[in-house]
Assembly symmetry: C2
Homo-oligomer: 292 residues x 2
Amino acid sequence: MAKKGSKKQAPKKAPALRELLRIPPGGEVDLSSYDPEALPAGPKKKADGLAETTLMGERLADLQERLYAASTGGDRRRVLLVLQGMDTSGKGGVVKHVIGLFNPSGCRIRAFKKPTPEELNHPFLWRIVKALPEPGEIGIFDRSHYEDVLIARVRELVPRSQLGRRYGQINRFEQSLAEDGVTVVKIFLHISAEQQQRRLLERLDNPDKHWKFNPGDIEERALWPAYQESYEIALERCSTDAAPWFLVPSDRKWYRNWAISKLLLEHLEALDPQYPKADFDVDESRKRLLAG
Amino acid sequence: MAKKGSKKQAPKKAPALRELLRIPPGGEVDLSSYDPEALPAGPKKKADGLAETTLMGERLADLQERLYAASTGGDRRRVLLVLQGMDTSGKGGVVKHVIGLFNPSGCRIRAFKKPTPEELNHPFLWRIVKALPEPGEIGIFDRSHYEDVLIARVRELVPRSQLGRRYGQINRFEQSLAEDGVTVVKIFLHISAEQQQRRLLERLDNPDKHWKFNPGDIEERALWPAYQESYEIALERCSTDAAPWFLVPSDRKWYRNWAISKLLLEHLEALDPQYPKADFDVDESRKRLLAG
């Protein structure tokens, strides 16, 4: 976001959130150096964060409509939001509170669970390709192909050599998406182990939330360091110029929702989708309509 | 909704909207006898309608969460909202404003357009079955299998004998859905020809809405009486106890949105979905979690 052209004193502009939260391609990632409670930009208080997120909703829905409208005129661009994070990091909360700001008819949401036997009979990207957004849509992946280098690594679900090849396969796949007009926004919801413990306890303490709890979550939690390491490797190897990773501090739900709304807003504004021009004679249609 | 039991003077309760708007199974339907501007129950003013719809949102989202939660405990019930109506009757507006009140992760939305060659190679219900909601979900059909007795009738896309069989096929299909736990809510958005003309003119007058306009809409409009007749036949033959049709006066957008929200609320309240009981030892999980 370096200032371009004019040497006049321009008003200082805050760096875009997507610059601040992006994992720089090619660098090393040490998750312990990122504070899950950080507020790297934007509102500092919950009330302000909630208000700003609500306000962004109108602009987000407007840009989404333009993106969809543009697709009817042949624009193939679309957005794919990839949500990854430990259990309770808030993937579902983001869908509810952030994606809930959009028109549901233009959202294609897919939650990836443990692969089915049919899915396991195919290359790991098979089920991913089938769930991609179409031109004009906002796709949302709640978990994604990254599970195939995360739980697959921690649980040693595939031989190490096969795992090692997947990072390159993912990068080539995402590169091809970008070339096809897909803006890939990959978000790692960064929470602390303590925050996860609090959220799991909340689920246990409230009978209306027991359905969200799985005793297997406790075993997964015991593997926390191995998961963090797997995330570090995925963020290091797969944050590319074509499809960078963003790390969103997520111990505070209101900040997480604000930051992801803002990231989507910045990406949609950069796309700057336009309503297509009429491909018919407007005046003639008006005459026929008034005559009918 | 007859009063049951007690002979004491109970407070008078307004009949449920779903009783008022339901097309009685077996009767004749004359669409010209229904006023598209009617306000048969509920708010009489736009501001009140908008406020009541917003207020309903919280209850709708809560019931949706319960429905979804229940499905994780084995409850197979789900809802299917079928939206039908002439061009500009507001099917898209309902998805945006009413379905927008729900958590998008539990909504399965499908807009049915002109059948593809692949779809035409299959029975007309083939593409419908593939788009059905799963247990716990709210499915939304923007147009549906009813196109196969509406435009198919008006445009004579299939032989009359084949068309005639479809009504029975639809009724048996919907009956089987009901038996499988699908609450089918079929809504006909009733607008006047004049209202359609106004809305089409609005699209022509606003360049940002040209993408929504198709000159073919004018030819379809010329077939208004034939479409009304096709709707009358579909409503007569396919309003069944298992899956009744509801007629929603839709010349006023705020009333349409209020009425459909209210219909969904009444159906969800009747389902009364419950959070499932924990199938694990809560205290033991809490201990393990606190130890970890």
